[in-house]
Symmetry: C2
Subunit: 226 residues, 2 copies
DNA sequence: ACCCTTATTGATCATTTGTTCATTAAGCTG
DNA sequence: CAGCTTAATGAACAAATGATCAATAAGGGT
């Protein structure tokens, strides 16, 4: 005998408390809304538990029954696919390639803005961990995302550095991956390994960028007060 | 006639023995040997399937029964623990801190040797993936490993850079993490995201190091032919 | 207020998976 | 060879898990 009424008993004790209690009564939402709520909750849950997390745990966290998930997704895989879409969709801002190529501004400032915004975009518990989980699971989405990133962001950066370089050194794409990896690794340390990491990413991003630019004889990023 | 048993056991591994050699005869190994074989197989298997891989799949791959696993490990968790030990144990060579601090040699050469050896040590399918899986699972081992690395390797590198620096710039530990992360990210791209990566890590490691050293006014690494 | 559509539930099924244990046989010793 | 220790097997159990479906009730339309 399983005592599944645990959640129910909990919710009955707190009928309409707004804190963390869920309504004991059955709530009927519009399909669009419910679906949105499920995908959002699934993102948070799978980021924590991994893609092997169970549909029962997820539904319990959402305050709905497990079978309801199957009214919106034919299979658990479909649900995970929806999580992928929500997470990856438009994660690469279409403005970034323009920003990087905008030669009316100093290259340092462009890269600084890009990496500050990029860090803000991906340095989240959900994104970092689900990206890693799906990468390990062999999801093709990861490779596609990174190919996309390489084409739209890293190659333009490479070209801009080559163009702006005033030292004898010239970078190859692998050098841009090194720049990128050094910054992304901050997020990996924080969200995958759960190590202490700086609250503000700006100083280390700026320093990393300056070190990179310096090698190619490009002027450093202006201090943030600029 | 003579050493029939032994020969038989050996030739048992070769598939084309008799017509329907499908039924694998039960092989009786010494506990130490069998345990070693299991842990090795488990490392390979869990690296591929993740720590949620099943004991049944593992035993099938090892060519033994699933229940035999429990003759050597009381629980699946214990088996995974054994995999951790096999993988992490002595992964940080005790000679590296000495190497890094050996001021009779140029700093660039020391760091180059260290990172070449370090890459050779951890850039393997098994290490990279299991480290990532266990990190995501929240295994304390990861944090301990990285703390260890920070204390024994990164801090000494920081001190050596500070000491050797001839430019106005001075690094903080986070800068060393950036250097480290940029290099480690090569392995992450290759083994987690399964992207194309250079076969020989030496050139990019050298270039990354030189870029780093250049910022602090430290002489570059000598070319490999030196 | 009363339908009536359908979002939601509860029960249930079929597998999967970790774990246990009595039984079997491999291979060393006398 | 015979006997004996114990490595190894095969069958089984309990809990967990993905998935299904008839029954229920929430809440909008009239």
């Amino acid at each position: 005998m399983m005592h599944r009424n645990k959640v129910r008993a909990q919710s009955e004790l707190t009928p309409v408390q707004s804190e963390n209690a869920k309504a004991p009564k059955r709530r009927r939402l519009s399909p669009a809304l419910r679906r949105e709520q499920i995908v959002e909750g699934a993102s948070a849950y799978f980021a924590e538990a991994g893609l092997d997390g169970t549909t029962r745990d997820l539904s319990a966290r959402l305050g709905i029954t497990q079978s309801l998930l199957y009214a919106y997704f034919n299979t658990k895989g479909e649900l995970i696919e929806a999580v992928y879409n929500r997470l990856y969709l438009d994660r690469i801002s279409p403005e970034w390639p323009e920003l990087i190529r905008d030669r009316t501004r100093p290259l340092g400032g462009r890269l600084h803005q890009f990496y500050t915004e990029y860090a803000a975009a991906i340095f989240s518990y959900e994104w970092m961990r689900i990206f890693m989980f799906s990468g390990l699971a062999g999801a093709d989405l990861n490779r596609r995302y990174l190919e996309h990133l390489s084409t739209l962001i890293l190659r333009p950066i490479l070209i801009e550095i080559e163009t702006a370089a005033r030292s004898p050194h010239r970078p190859v794409l692998e050098d841009i991956w090194d720049l990128h990896g050094g910054i992304v690794y901050i997020g990996i340390r924080k969200f995958v390994y759960r190590m202490a990491a700086p609250d503000d990413y700006e100083p280390i991003i700026r320093c990393t960028l300056n070190r990179f630019l310096h090698y190619y004889g490009i002027e450093p990023v202006s201090p943030p007060g600029n």
